[in-house]
């Protein structure tokens, strides 16, 4: 599903964000990317979302090479992704259900399919009673759930969540992580970045990637949380 070899990422200001990253994530895996702030985990996720492109090295997601020249193919690839952004990125002035539906409007689904899938997703995240609430009136936790509902309603092959617990208290954060983990299945991989390693001690993940200073410091069982 995701294959990365010797990936380097240097930003235009010269900052080397990622160095010699090698990753291999298979379909249906639950993966955590951890590291302190500024370690490079968000940069790695930006590569996976197609927001940034490797300066060198090879990155393939669902068979698509991630290169700047492949912009139109990468747009199509994004239709198979379920991104959950750190700052939620919900569309203001619209209700919760409208935001969820918006993520599906260009997937060639009928209006009834969109409606059904978005209602199901809102139910899964436990917000079936907030369908018509404007997103401005939702709490942080609820906003994060709507963002997750928008991602999962699309039935993506890959859910990518960037610091989904960043603004939440411990209880809410654990709930959100458990919720995201629940969407992992045989066809859907879930990748979550977090700096709060204490929250995932009891998690049932398949892979743990710890990044330090742009390098993969340790992976899976080699990492001690």
């Amino acid at each position: 599903m995701i294959e990365g070899k010797s990936i380097y990422l240097r930003y235009p200001d010269g900052t080397m964000a990622l160095k010699d990253i090698n990753i291999d994530i298979k379909a249906g895996e639950m993966v955590y990317i951890t590291g302190v702030s500024g370690s490079g985990k968000t940069s790695l996720l930006k590569l996976l979302m197609g927001i940034e492109f490797p300066t060198s090295g090879l990155l393939k997601i669902l068979g698509q090479t991630m290169e700047k020249e492949e912009a139109s193919n990468i747009r199509r690839l994004r239709l198979k992704l379920g991104p959950v952004f750190q700052e939620f990125r919900l569309i203001k002035g619209r209700t919760a259900i409208e935001n969820v539906m918006l993520g599906m409007r260009f997937l060639n689904l009928t209006p009834s399919e969109i409606k059904r899938a978005s209602h199901d997703a809102m139910e899964k995240v436990g917000l079936e009673h907030k369908l018509l609430t404007p997103v401005e009136n939702l709490s942080f936790g609820e906003s994060q759930r709507v963002a997750i509902a928008r991602a999962v309603a699309r039935k993506p092959s890959l859910i990518l969540a960037d610091e989904p617990t960043g603004n939440l208290d411990v209880d809410n954060a654990v709930n959100i992580l458990e919720l995201l983990e629940s969407f992992k299945d045989i066809n859907t991989s879930v990748i979550i970045t977090t700096h709060a390693t204490h929250l995932i001690k009891n998690s049932n993940y398949d892979k743990l990637i710890h990044i330090n200073n742009g390098n993969i410091y340790c992976e899976s069982l080699g990492c001690s949380i």
Binding site: F85, R89, L109, I114, R150, R154
Partner: protein, 295 residues
């Protein structure tokens, strides 16, 4: 395509939301576009009316041939027959002085009472000849040579002046259409750019979710069309009221000007203004979208 059809309701709703976000700017845009289109519709009306007048005058092209009042009735009839036989003359008949007076009374309407100041009928009899406009010069040249002819009155001078007015209005119309087009394009594209800037985060989010550019752009295009149609509607209302007023003012005192029917003029303006509004809205929207690339 399927996605566009399924999302028509969403696009309209989004366009309305975009309109509401910049409500005051959009209302001002509608007013300024409306006034610009109103000026355009007035120029088009002027051109239309002058064209119609030229057309009617061309159709009714005739010359009035005055003859020596001393000649007898039979000679006048012969003269009319001779003129009728001339190439380019479609019809020739004698108009008696009584008929000439009656015609003037009809033209003057209520003002005809001025004719009562004359003790005798001030008009003379004449031969009225309808002619092919292309042969007017040769016909006049030949008729002038005929025995008993004293004076020929033709409408060439009037036609020439109307041609000039029509030509000026046509040129003015083209200039105004171009000026209005460019101005409207700038106004609409500026508003669209403003909308895109205000919604740049939403646009980025949609792109990250994989939305095609066409899907993102459609509400902005609709907003542009909504603005110009609003302006067009305002222009239509203003021009209809103005034309109604102008026609009422002109028909009474200037009854001899062959104005086109006001209803057909209004209908024509509605069609032209609406089509132009839609075109300018789409063009302005595309221009605004192309010139503001949100990265």
């Amino acid at each position: 395509m399927k996605s566009i059809l399924f999302n028509i309701g969403y696009f309209i709703k989004e366009a309305k939301t975009l309109f509401k976000i910049n409500l005051l700017s959009n209302v001002f845009t509608i007013f300024s576009t409306g006034l610009i289109l109103f000026i355009l519709s007035m120029v088009i009306s002027g051109w239309w009316i002058s064209n119609e007048v030229v057309r009617v005058i061309e159709k009714e092209s005739e010359i009035n041939i005055y003859y020596d009042e001393g000649i007898v009735k039979d000679d006048a009839l012969k003269l009319a027959e001779e003129i009728k036989g001339h190439e380019g003359v479609l019809e020739a008949r004698i108009v008696k002085k009584e008929e000439a007076l009656k015609r003037m009374e009809e033209i003057l309407g209520k003002e005809a009472q001025v004719l009562e100041f004359f003790e005798d009928n001030p008009f003379s009899g004449f031969i009225e000849a309808k002619i092919d406009l292309n042969t007017i010069d040769s016909v006049i040249e030949d008729v002038e040579e005929m025995y008993g002819i004293t004076y020929i009155r033709d409408n060439r001078e009037v036609l020439d002046r109307l041609y000039s007015i029509s030509k000026i209005l046509r040129i003015l119309g083209v200039i105004v259409v171009v000026a209005v087009g460019i101005t409207t394009l700038f106004i609409i594209s500026h508003i669209i750019r403003l909308g895109i800037y205000n919604n740049r985060e939403e646009i980025r989010t949609l792109r990250l979710l994989g939305a095609p550019e066409g899907f993102i752009a459609t509400p902005f295009l609709l907003e542009g069309v909504l603005l110009t149609i609003g302006g067009g509607a305002l222009a239509i209302i203003l021009s209809n009221l103005t034309l109604e007023h102008l026609f009422t003012m002109m028909v009474g005192p200037l009854p001899f000007i062959p104005l086109p029917p006001v209803e057909s003029l209004k209908t024509g303006l509605v069609i032209i203004t609406t089509l132009l509004s839609i075109f300018l809205g789409i063009a302005g929207g595309i221009f605004g979208l192309v010139s503001s690339k949100v990265k």
